[in-house]
């Protein structure tokens, strides 16, 4: 029996969110007295996969058949479920990325397992198996009891502290091949902005709204984000107006994020916006209107003109980074 962690990678590198999931998997496996096994799919080197040992995986199963070289929810779910069966996994853990959101429910159905998504803290295994997640767009938490023998859970990025120790994992090859009927979704084109930090996984997010007046003022937002190593986000009207791409729009109808630091600039703080960002650990609001509703949801605030404040803030960040 085991706790199985699904590991994602991008351009040959294991994603940070997967180190987080592995740490979570290891801590859970200790409580359940089971080994922690990782599974990775597609093109990635054994050297890179061995790194998972330092985060607590004793073994890494690598499904590397050519049919699995590009992501398909169906075939990837098939591979994970097959490895879960071989490793007699009691819990299958995944980090809730866009792709995982499309495959984890399939893994659960294949294993006839109970499913919980976007879990935000360690499972409570003192009696039964309970997990906690956000509900009602950030307005509540739901505590869920899972009754099935096997459980599939996805964890919300940035919800568990990564712990790196020593060690190297053993990597074993698994020859799982998806059936033709599992591989019907064909990728025609990938449009990737590689230099960008992925929004759902980012630890720091700099976000701006209509208060920036126009797209011509985004240079200073990009500078601030670059100085902090942050991802960029925006409010819905900004994306609707075409000032920024829709992939940066956060909120109820956009991406939901929970970074350690969210800096909202020229955003009023409408409830639909808060729905996507309220679980951020620390919120900073910069707005010229002291009555802006966002200040009620913020930890730190600056009242004033963003066009003047943001460049000064960037300079302050640069000075800080130079000194530390």
């Amino acid at each position: 029996m085991s706790v199985l962690v699904y590991v994602e990678h991008s351009e040959g590198k294991i994603k940070k969110s997967s180190f987080e999931a592995t740490t979570y998997g290891k801590d859970l496996s200790v409580m359940l007295n089971l080994p922690c096994v990782a599974v990775a799919i597609g093109n990635i080197s054994a050297e890179e996969l061995k790194l998972l040992g330092a985060y607590g995986a004793s073994k890494v199963v690598h499904c590397n058949s050519p049919e699995l070289s590009s992501f398909s929810a169906q075939s990837y779910a098939g591979a994970v479920a097959s490895v879960a069966a071989e490793e007699k996994a009691k819990v299958v853990l995944l980090s809730a990325s866009f792709s995982v959101k499309g495959m984890a429910p399939r893994v659960a159905v294949k294993l006839q397992a109970g499913f919980a998504d976007g879990v935000i803290s360690m499972a409570d295994v003192s009696s039964g198996f309970k997990v906690r997640k956000g509900a009602f767009s950030g307005k509540a938490f739901a505590n869920i009891s899972m009754y099935s023998d096997i459980k599939v859970i996805t964890i919300s990025p940035n919800s568990y502290k990564i712990l790196k120790g020593e060690g190297s994992a053993e990597v074993v090859i698994n020859s799982y091949k998806p059936g033709a009927e599992e591989n019907k979704v064909k990728v025609k084109e990938t449009i990737r902005a590689t230099d960008k930090i992925s929004l759902p996984e980012a630890e720091i997010v700099v976000s701006a709204g209509r208060g920036m007046k126009g797209p011509e003022n985004w240079g200073m937002i990009e500078d601030l984000a670059a100085s902090l190593g942050a991802a960029l986000a925006c409010s819905k009207p900004v994306a609707d107006a075409g000032w920024r791409p829709h992939s940066e729009h956060v909120g109820q109808t956009g991406v939901t994020i929970s970074p350690n630091l969210y800096i909202a600039i020229g955003i009023s703080g409408a409830i639909q916006h808060l729905a996507g960002v309220s679980s951020s650990k620390t919120i900073v609001v910069i707005n010229k209107d002291p009555e802006a509703p966002f200040f009620k949801a913020a930890d730190f605030g600056i009242v004033g003109d963003a066009l003047e404040i943001v460049p000064k803030l960037t300079d302050a960040v640069k000075r800080f980074k130079a000194a530390h």
Partner: protein, 245 residues
């Protein structure tokens, strides 16, 4: 082309959320229920596709009679008919099983869902239904077109997007941008009253998980304001107090 659109009835984001004294369920009194915003997008795209190619749009919801206003709204927007599986959704596995059963009975070319419901924010149902039906799925799509028996969709991936092609039947989940939701007109509202709404019994499935209690987040302590001319003060607080940089 036959399209099934899965709609869920959810509390309007702007309404306040409260729970029953045992904290096990939502207090629905005074709560305004709406079509899940993503499902509205999915429904609109389904209508656009059938208007162009010919066909029929059926909406399905798993819910008790209190969900009927939302179903009627979907009919008013333009769906041809509706199915209501008469049960209070217990967990995602339960809901997906009901939708999969209805889908098996009716052979749809396409099943369109919202990317996630704004009450449980799970993004579970579309992929579960696809797996139960053993058909492909493309989730979090911002664009969807259909040519003959093949769909082309643009789906979101980390730090970018991906254009994929997939044969029908398939499940697609809609995200912001796939279509602009329509507002029902008077004729739509009138005709919705007489459009067929079939109420069916739920199939029994094992209970794999359940919500045992809800609670609300601790309110944030009041905001600490920093003078506009002292940005370095903010950086210092983020470093020493919040420990986020």
């Amino acid at each position: 082309m036959k399209i099934l659109v899965c709609i869920s009835s959810v509390p309007d984001t702007t309404t306040k959320i409260n729970f029953t004294p045992d904290n096990k369920s939502l207090l629905t009194q005074g709560v305004q229920f709406i079509i899940n915003p993503y499902d509205e997008i999915a429904l609109t795209r389904a209508l656009e596709l059938t208007e162009k190619e010919g066909g029929k749009v059926t909406v399905i919801t798993v819910g008790d009679h209190s969900t009927e206003p939302v179903i009627r709204k979907a009919l008013a927007v333009g769906a041809n008919d509706a199915i209501r599986v008469d049960a209070v959704p217990r967990d995602a596995f339960f809901t997906a099983s009901q939708i999969a059963k209805a889908a098996t009975e009716n052979n749809y070319d396409l099943i369109l869902c919202g990317h996630e419901s704004i009450d449980y924010n799970g993004a579970r149902i579309p992929s579960m239904v696809a797996e139960m039906l053993r058909i492909p799925s493309v989730t979090i799509c911002k664009k969807l077109t259909i040519e003959g028996k093949v769909l082309t969709a643009e789906r979101e991936i980390e730090g970018g997007k991906e254009v994929v092609e997939c044969p029908l039947p398939a499940v697609v989940s809609a995200s912001e941008g796939m279509a602009a939701p329509r507002i029902p007109n008077m004729r739509g509202i009138m005709s919705a009253r007489t459009k067929p709404l079939a109420v069916t019994q739920a199939v029994d499935v094992p209970k794999l998980s359940e919500v045992i209690g809800y609670d609300k987040p601790q309110p944030r302590s009041t905001v600490q304001l920093i003078p506009a001319d002292q940005p370095e003060k903010l950086i210092e607080l983020l470093h020493t107090q919040a420990r986020v940089i």
